[in-house]
C-alpha cells in the first residue's frame, strides 16, 4: 500500500504510483522536521532517564535509607496513570496564565522564566514535552535498578570498602559493571518505547505545534492517515518508521554488547 495513492474511502479507488510516495517524502520539509524531532527525543529521554534513575537507585540502596520503599512507591505512581491524564496535567503545569510553573517562577522572582509560554513557543515545545516523558517513565527504571543493585552480593562492596574505595569508586568498579546487563535492556526498552510512545504526549500536549515544531514521525504518520486521509503516504512513512525502529534496536543491541560480568 506504500506504493499507492489512496484516501482509504472505497476499495478500487487506489492508484499505483510506484515510488512516488518516497520521492514526496524526501522533499517534504515537515517529514524532515519530524525526523529530526524524533531523534532529539530519542537522544535526550533514554540518557536522562537512565542517569537519573541510576543516581536515585544508588542513593536509595547504598545509603540504606529506611523509608526507601515510600520514595519508590511515590516515584512509580505516574507509571500506572493514563498518559492522557499525565499530558493534560502537564499542559496545565506549563499553562501560560494558570500554570503552577509560572506561579513558582513568579514567587521566586524569576520573571524572565515565568514569561515563557512553554508549550506555545517553537524553541521550547519539544523539550517541555520531553521533560514530561522523563518524569512519567522514571519510576519504572528506578524499580528495575533497585532490584538489580540489591541482587549484587554485599561482599563485593565490603571488599571494595576494605581496599579503600569510596562510594563513587564503588559505583564505577562494582555497581556499573555488574548492572550492565540491566542497563542494556533498559536502554533498548527506552529507545523503542520513546520512539513509538512519544506519540500520545505530543498529540495531547501540543498536537505537533506550534508550526510543526514538536511533530515526531509517528505523529506525522497519524496526521497523514487520519487527518489528511492520505493512506498511501502514511503507510510509506510507517515503513520508514518500522525500518528505523528495527535498525535502532539492532544498533543499540550491538553497541552495548559488552560481556556482562557473571556473579
Amino acid at each position: 500500500m506504500a506504493f499507492y495513492r489512496w484516501s482509504g474511502t472505497a476499495r478500487g479507488t487506489e492508484v499505483f504510483i510506484g515510488l512516488d510516495n518516497f520521492r514526496t517524502m524526501m522533499q517534504d520539509d515537515i517529514f524532515w522536521i519530524s525526523f529530526k524531532n524524533s531523534f532529539i527525543v530519542m537522544l535526550i529521554v533514554p540518557a536522562a532517564t537512565i542517569i537519573l534513575a541510576l543516581f536515585l537507585a544508588v542513593l536509595l540502596t547504598r545509603f540504606k535509607l529506611r523509608e526507601k520503599y515510600v520514595y519508590r512507591t511515590v516515584l512509580f505512581f505516574p507509571n500506572v496513570l493514563s498518559i492522557v491524564v499525565i499530558s493534560i496535567l502537564w499542559s496545565f503545569i506549563y499553562h501560560p496564565t494558570m500554570g503552577i510553573l509560572k506561579a513558582i517562577f513568579e514567587s521566586l522572582g524569576l520573571t524572565r522564566l515565568s514569561e515563557i509560554v512553554w508549550l506555545g513557543t517553537s524553541e521550547t515545545a519539544l523539550y517541555s514535552v520531553t521533560v514530561t516523558i522523563i518524569w512519567a517513565g522514571l519510576g519504572f527504571y528506578l524499580i528495575l535498578f533497585i532490584a538489580g543493585i540489591e541482587s549484587i552480593p554485599v561482599q563485593y562492596y565490603e571488599a571494595a570498602a576494605i581496599d579503600g574505595a569510596g562510594q563513587v569508586r564503588q559505583f564505577f568498579t562494582v555497581t556499573l559493571p555488574l548492572l550492565w546487563a540491566v542497563l542494556r535492556v533498559s536502554f533498548i526498552l527506552l529507545i523503542s518505547g520513546v520512539f513509538y510512545g512519544s506519540f500520545i504526549y505530543v498529540q495531547v500536549m501540543t498536537n505537533g505545534g506550534p508550526n510543526w515544531s514538536s511533530e515526531t514521525l509517528v505523529n506525522y504518520l497519524y496526521y497523514q492517515a487520519f487527518k489528511n486521509f492520505n493512506m498511501g503516504y502514511a503507510t510509506a512513512i510507517g515503513l520508514v518508521v518500522f525500518l528505523i525502529g528495527i535498525t535502532l534496536a539492532f544498533i543499540s543491541n550491538r553497541l552495548t554488547r559488552k560481556d556482562a560480568v557473571e556473579f
Binding site: M1, G8, R11, L56, L59, F63, L65, V70, Y71, R72, T73, V74, L75, F76, F77, P78, N79, V80, L81, S82, I83, V84, V85, I88, L89, W90, S91, I93, H95, M98, I100, K102, A103, I104, W135, L138, F140, I143, L144, A147, V185, L189, S192, G193, Y196, F199, I200, Q203, V204, L221, Y222, A225, F226, M231, A234, T235, G238, L239, F242, G245
Partner: protein, 281 residues
Amino acid sequence: MSESTTGRILTRTVIRAIMLLFSATVVLPFLWLIYSSFKTSREFMENPLLLPEQLNFDNYVHAWVQAKMGSYFVNSILVSGLSLVCTLLISITSAYAITRFVNVYTKLLKGLYISTFFLPGVVGLVPLFLMMNDMHLTNNRFGIVIVYIALNISFSVFVLCGFIGNIAKDYEEAAFIDGASRYKILFKVIIPLSMPAIVTVSVFVFLGLWNEFLYAYTFLTDDAIMTIPIGLNNLFAVQKYQTDWGALFAGLVMVLIPTLLFYALVQKHITSGIAAGGIKM
C-alpha cells in the same frame, strides 16, 4: 568516631533532601490538581497556587453529567472488562497447550505469538484501520474489544508459558490417574497453581487496557462509546474554547482516584512483577 557519625548523618540528610525533592515533583502536581478541582471559574483566574475559599462540588456534577464522564466510565469498564476476560481465557488455554503438547504446530504457534511482541502497534495501525473499516467494526465497542484481545494475547501467553512450564508434571499425572479429564486438570490443577502469574498478568493487562489511547483514539469517534482516555482528551480539546476548567479538573480527579486506589491495592504485584521479569508496561 563521632566525626564520622556526624558526617554520615549529614550525607543522609542531603540524600533525604534530594529524594524529597523528586517525590515532591510527583506529589505536588496531584495535590494541586485535587484542590484546584474545587475552585470556581473566578478563582481559576487568580493565583493558581491559592487554595479555594470553600469546597465547591459543582465541578464534579458538571463533569459527571454535562461532560459525560459517567458514560465514559461505563464504556471503559465494559470494554476493559470484556477484553480482559477473553484475553485470559484464550491465553491460559493456549499457554497450557503450548507448554504441555510440544510439537511442530504448537512451536509454530508460540513463535507466532512471540513475533507479534516485537511489532510496534503504530506501524500496523493504518492497515488495521482499513481492515476493521471493511468489516464495519470501527466505531463499535466489540470491534475495539477484538483489537484489544489480539494485542494482549502475545504478552499474556509469553508470561503464562514461562510459569506453567515450571509447574511439575507430577500433579497432572496424579490427577490423570484419579480419572480427571484434560479440562478438569486445567481448571482444577493448573489454574489454581498458576494463580500468582494470572493475577500479575491481569493487573498489567487491565492497566494497559484502562489507559489505552492510540487504538481507542483511532477507532472510537462516537461520543457515546468513548472510553475514559479519549473522553478526557475530547473534554480537554472542548474546554480550550469553553474554559470550564473546573469540570476538566474534576474529571481528571475522578480518573485519578480509582487508579490511586487500584495502585495501593496491587502495588506489590506491580513492583515484584517488574523486579522479577523486567515487564514493560
